[in-house]
């Protein structure tokens, strides 16, 4: 099994060795024919005027062929990895490719990838006119048909809403407190997202005008009739809470309350198990804290959160820490202890701890060395001549 898989991987690698891995796409073509065309999509991604790139760089049949090849390649890959071809997801594909083609490069875009052709090839516009030369869209000659068509439709809807309002006013049924569209927790589409939607490049001015027109539509009292249309151009915001997530207190079989916390400092990570037993003993990686941290400063760092809240003798601690040096390990444990203590404290006490800086992870890491200098900041000796 190992030998055969080694051989297939080898043949696969030999075939794929023809591809230049500088380009974005590697289509895993495991069939007999080798894809000799090297697909360079970077120019197309950055091109401003899509029409000037040619009617269609990638025709319909070409894309269809790519999709078929991708599906066949996916099944081969699943067989190679010993997985079920039917339930082979994109995440599995990424992991398999990362395993088969380990890359020491840092840039994600430089690593070999195997994705569905729809994600790889930019969405292209088919030819905009029929056999007799007449364009399909009535705003074709403006140059930006999708964008102007969108503006036209939005304005039509605004006019329709205004007409509806006038009819209601005529009947005397107009009220200011009609149902409003809820905009809380959502944002307008970004310019890039709108460009993607319209498959067209638009300028900042155009985008600003679009937002202005939508805001005007929303300013009308009876705009709730067009809610679906408006929501198509809004995205939900991720909810960000600024409060600390306080874990609830847990109890073990003897009824003793305990909680855990973890913290990091430079390259050291530590976890702590805080027990409300009342003895005040601390063990780190199995050894006593006095033996583990011979330096006073490190022990002070451990004690500081407890001393600050005045609960020095109350808790029992079991810590584990790895990585870094003794100072960073102590700092990591300090943060872990502070976080573990949150479950035992009230809101006000949590706030005082936050203000003391006990809950803030220290972001400082070792600064990289720069070329042309001896260290991160130290320069080579300056010689006048």
């Amino acid at each position: 099994m190992a030998a055969s898989s080694g051989r297939t991987v080898g043949s696969f690698l030999w075939k794929c060795g023809n591809f230049c891995f500088n380009f974005n796409t590697v289509s895993s073509n495991l069939t007999r024919q080798v894809l000799s065309r090297q697909l360079c999509v970077s120019a197309v991604f950055h091109r401003k005027n899509l029409a000037a790139a040619g009617p269609e760089k990638f025709s319909e049949e070409f894309i269809k062929k790519q999709v078929e090849e991708f599906n066949i390649g996916k099944r081969h890959l699943a067989n190679m990895m010993g997985e079920d071809p039917e339930t082979f997801t994109q995440g599995d594909i990424d992991r398999s490719i990362a395993y088969l083609f380990p890359s020491g490069l840092f840039d994600n875009k430089a690593k070999p990838l195997m994705k569905h052709p729809d994600e790889v090839f930019p969405k292209q516009r088919a030819v905009q006119w029929g056999a007799d030369g007449r364009p399909f869209h009535f705003l074709f000659y403006t140059g930006k048909q999708s964008y102007y068509s969108l503006m036209h439709d939005t304005f039509t809807k605004a006019l329709a809403v205004e007409k509806h309002q006038d009819r209601l006013r005529g009947k005397g049924l107009f009220t200011q407190d009609a149902k409003q569209i809820s905009l809380v927790g959502s944002r307008w589409l970004l310019k890039e997202e709108l460009e993607e939607l319209l498959v067209e490049t638009i300028s900042d001015h155009d985008y600003a005008r679009f937002i202005q027109l939508m805001e005007r539509l929303l300013s009308l009292p009876y705009c709730s009739a067009e809610e679906d249309f408006v929501q198509r151009y809004r995205r939900q915001l991720e909810i960000q809470s600024s409060k600390q997530q306080v874990q609830p207190l847990q109890y073990d079989q003897h009824g003793v309350a305990y909680s855990t916390g973890d913290g990091r400092r430079k390259t050291a990570t530590g976890t702590v198990l805080l027990r409300d037993s009342g003895s005040g003993s601390i063990s780190i990686n199995g050894t006593n804290y006095v033996h583990y941290f011979p330096v006073l400063q490190d022990r002070e760092q451990l004690m500081f959160p407890l001393h600050f809240m005045g609960v020095l003798g109350r808790f029992d601690m079991q810590c584990s820490v790895s990585g870094g040096g003794h100072s960073s390990q102590a700092g990591a444990l300090r943060l872990a202890i502070s976080r573990a203590m949150l479950s035992f404290l009230s809101e006000g006490q949590v706030e005082t701890m936050r203000q003391a800086g006990l809950l803030t992870p220290d972001p400082r890491i070792k600064e990289r060395k720069k070329p042309g200098q001896e260290g991160a900041r130290r320069k080579f000796t300056w010689k006048k001549r």
């Binding site: 029409a51 006119w129 007449r134 364009p135 009535f138 074709f140």
Partner: protein, 286 residues
């Protein structure tokens, strides 16, 4: 296919469209030649040679009949029924701008001025509008691409809706420089340019002549233009002197153009059906 019909006309350099031109005195555009006349002079040196058509087969006979029949009558589409002078007056088409805004070249089209406001001569407007609509109808009959252009923000929506209703095209937005003159680069090669451009206002937002007028003249595209008393009518092929500021007037024009184009297209469908039936009746093979 349809563009060939129009290109043959253009290649010969003869606009065979209308005998109405004979009626119009003071030909503004001597380089436009009327039917069949061989011309002399500096303007139409290229216009003399008429291409001989290839061998006539049954299908080309039918096509020729479809294409030539409307040219034999002055008002084939009966467009004079669509509007009257009174309709124009009621829509306030005769109201021009103040004396200070008057363009020198619009003076022949003005009836006079009252309290410093210029009044446009509606008799001339009727004639010009008649010929413009007739020309539009013939272009639409031959399946030409018609582009409605107006840079007035007040009427942009109306113009776009008119174009949509007739199945033609509209451009009421910012005019990018090379739209007509640099079309293969802007749109892709093989694009078909409009065969007629209808300007529902020849001025842009800063009261200068719309770039499209000059570009259409450069690209040999005929134009129908609504010229108000502050506009320059010289580059427009079929100028129609009239008011372009009042909503009533604009709605009238849009309605007229829409009806003309729809009429012409319906007529074409009708002719094709009739001729197709008669051709099928005559020659069992086709």
């Amino acid at each position: 296919m349809r563009s060939k019909e129009l290109s043959v006309e253009r290649q010969t350099g003869l606009w065979r469209c209308t005998d109405l031109r004979k009626g119009l005195c003071g030909l503004r555009h001597p380089w436009l030649v009327s039917a069949g006349y061989s011309c002399s002079g500096p303007f139409c040196a290229t216009a003399v040679a008429v291409k001989t058509l290839p061998l006539q087969t049954a299908s080309t006979d039918v096509t020729d009949r479809i294409l030539n029949l409307p040219l034999q009558m002055p008002d084939f589409f009966r467009l004079s029924e669509l509007f009257s002078l009174k309709d124009l007056f009621d829509a306030r088409v005769h109201l021009g701008h103040k004396k200070g805004c008057r363009h020198r070249l619009m003076e022949p089209y003005l009836f006079g001025s009252r309290l410093d406001q210029d009044i446009i001569d509606l008799d001339q407007t009727v004639e010009h509008l008649q010929s413009a609509l007739n020309f539009t109808a013939h272009i639409a009959y031959r399946g030409g691409v018609i582009l409605f252009v107006s840079r007035r923000r007040q009427f942009g929506q109306l113009v776009e809706i008119t174009a949509q209703d007739c199945g033609e095209y509209a451009h009421t937005r910012y005019w990018q420089g090379g739209l007509l003159t640099n079309a293969p680069i802007q749109y892709g090669s093989g694009v078909r340019l409009p065969d007629l451009i209808v300007f529902l206002s020849t001025l842009n937002n800063v009261f200068q002549q719309h770039v499209g007028v000059r570009d259409a003249a450069k690209m040999n595209i005929p134009t129908v233009g609504l010229v108000d008393s502050n506009c320059n009518p010289s580059l427009v092929t079929y100028p129609v002197p009239g008011n372009d500021d009042t909503p009533a007037a604009m709605e009238l024009y849009c309605r007229l153009f829409k009806m003309t184009i729809n009429r012409a297209k319906d007529k074409r469908r009708q002719m094709e059906l009739l001729q197709g039936l008669s051709a099928a009746g005559l020659t069992p093979g086709s």
